[in-house]
């Protein structure tokens, strides 16, 4: 369906993303465990973790200000709001004023900023280090993401993700132009950085030398930590959703009603599963890059994105 998306559908998609976010992490962790010949935790483990944390009490450092307690809620809110902008089961513009891809990137950047502020607020050494590293990586990732979005937006004439996805149409790989290949390559380079995975960040470790994102969560506990973890799961699935909206068709063009929605959701699940498998494979076959090598790695993405733009515009 490529008609307008009503408010109920947008809300449904948003809730779907939040609910499925931990599952994606669980699947990636299970795949990684299998690739390492371990049995690994079940794919529902992230849900159990979050539920457990919500039941726990909160312990805070004495140095934290009142703002610290608000940080997890704000981060989660910004990330979930970003989720509302991604078309999941159906392409097409929303029936009411809603943000576009730039808004989505802005909300993700806001969540990142708030996380860093929270980490600095607690005054811990690891939090500060994590925040500093994250803020070094962020300005390298975000402009490139924007350029990838622009390189597809130039062809569609809009930055609204639903319309972009509708423009992509059903015959996707045949309709891919040269710029799409380069844009997708840039996106694949950026994906580990944006989802906090190897080779840029290691999500499994709490070793102070290697962590970026985890370092910033150290001072949070209980429900606050649960919010932060849910936010990072959601951020991951939103990023994957952004990739699938930009480069793969969303929904099916000729099936209406509930069946169409279910088929669209199934298609979305398949796309996310493929991308998650890619992430798990990359994470299992590469070592984490030294921090000062990361800019060079992201530079490949930058050059690819710039060439995609050059092919479109020049």
């Amino acid at each position: 369906m490529t008609g307008e998306r009503p408010l109920a559908l947008v809300l449904f998609e948003m809730i779907l993303l939040v609910l499925l976010g931990p599952l994606v992490t669980g699947v990636i962790q299970k795949l990684k465990a299998l690739l390492q010949c371990r049995q690994g935790a079940g794919i529902l483990q992230p849900y159990h973790d979050i539920i457990k944390l919500f039941r726990k009490g909160t312990v805070q450092a004495d140095t934290t200000s009142g703002f610290f307690q608000l940080v997890p809620v704000l981060v989660l809110a910004a990330t979930v709001a970003a989720g509302a902008l991604v078309p999941v089961v159906r392409a097409g513009p929303p029936a009411f004023p809603l943000g576009d891809a730039l808004m989505l990137l802005g909300l993700l950047a806001l969540a990142r900023f708030l996380t860093a502020v929270g980490a600095l607020d607690a005054g811990g050494a690891f939090g500060g280090m994590g925040a500093s590293r994250e803020m070094t990586i962020a300005p390298l990732v975000e402009p490139v993401l924007m350029m990838v979005v622009f390189s597809t937006a130039v062809a569609a004439g809009t930055t609204e993700l639903g319309t972009l996805a509708a423009h992509r149409g059903a015959s996707w790989i045949l309709a891919w132009r040269g710029a799409d290949f380069l844009g997708f390559a840039a996106m694949l380079v950026l994906l580990p950085a944006e989802t906090g995975r190897i080779p840029v960040d290691n999500p499994d470790t709490h070793l102070e030398l290697t962590m970026l994102h985890e370092g910033m969560l150290l001072e949070h506990s209980g429900p606050g930590l649960a919010c932060m973890m849910l936010a990072s799961h959601t951020r991951q699935i939103v990023t994957l959703g952004l990739v699938s909206a930009l480069f793969f068709p969303v929904g099916l063009a000729d099936v209406a009603g509930v069946v169409g929605l279910l088929l669209g959701a199934g298609g979305f699940a398949a796309k996310i599963l493929v991308l998650a498998t890619c992430l798990a494979l990359v994470e299992s076959s590469y070592a984490k890059l030294r921090f000062f090598r990361v800019p060079q790695y992201l530079g490949i993405g930058f050059v690819c994105a710039l060439m995609a733009l050059a092919l479109r515009i020049l």
């Binding site: 891919w176 132009r177 290949f181 380069l182 060079q296 050059v303 710039l306 060439m307 050059a310 020049l314």
Partner: protein
């Protein structure tokens, strides 16, 4: 195949060629660069085959076959063999930092698009992005040669540069005379052989890098 479809495929292949070129520039290990240049030659062979089916030019089939066998299989194999002989794995020694090379690469690509846009009537005659893409791959190959210290990486740069020339010639003229193409390929093989022997001999006699050979001593 209609001419529009061919144009689209050539454009897509051009984008993938640019991507392999980025990989060559960003490669930290010599073997990665060799794999990338092999992939690039494979893409050129595919481009040749596509143009051959489109134009019905049998010469292009021969060229595609020769490109596939010589440049995508034999030359990378020779390079890998030399790497094994020299027993080096990380011998991509840049003169300037990788990030600076990448920035220069961006400048080169933008410049070649700008240049070919200013060609005016010549540009009008050639549809698609084959010309700017070919020019930028040629120049980027030269960039790789200029910014690496070791001979092997410079050889990879030379092959990439030659690939760029080949792609431009093929896409722009829809098939040059067979004799010219064969001549170009023979040139490359000869250059590869001479450079291989030179690298091995220099390494075995004086154990020096190309960077050490920048001064003449009487």
């Amino acid at each position: 195949m209609s001419s529009e479809t061919v144009q689209t495929i050539i454009d897509d292949l051009g984008a993938l060629l640019l991507f392999t070129m980025i990989l060559i520039i960003a490669a930290r290990q010599i073997s990665h660069a060799i794999h990338s240049v092999a992939a690039q030659s494979l893409l050129i062979a595919i481009a040749g085959a596509v143009l051959a089916t489109a134009t019905g030019n049998t010469d292009l089939w021969v060229i595609a076959g020769v490109t596939l066998s010589i440049k995508a299989i034999v030359l990378p194999w020779v390079l890998h063999w030399v790497v094994r002989q020299l027993n080096v794995r990380r011998e991509v020694e840049p003169v300037i930092p990788f990030s600076a090379t990448l920035a220069l690469a961006v400048a080169v690509v933008v410049m070649s698009f700008h240049l070919s846009a200013s060609l005016g009537s010549v540009r009008q005659a050639i549809t698609g992005n084959a010309l700017p893409v070919g020019i930028s791959i040629t120049l980027l190959g030269v960039l790789v040669m200029a910014t690496r210290k070791t001979a092997l990486t410079q050889m990879v740069g030379l092959f990439a540069s030659e690939n760029g020339i080949f792609f431009t010639a093929m896409a722009v003229t829809k098939g040059m005379p067979l004799i010219i193409e064969i001549g170009v390929i023979l040139d490359v093989i000869l250059a590869a052989l001479v450079m291989t022997i030179l690298v091995l001999r220099v390494r075995s006699t004086v154990d020096a890098d190309i960077a050490d050979l920048d001064r003449l001593r009487g």
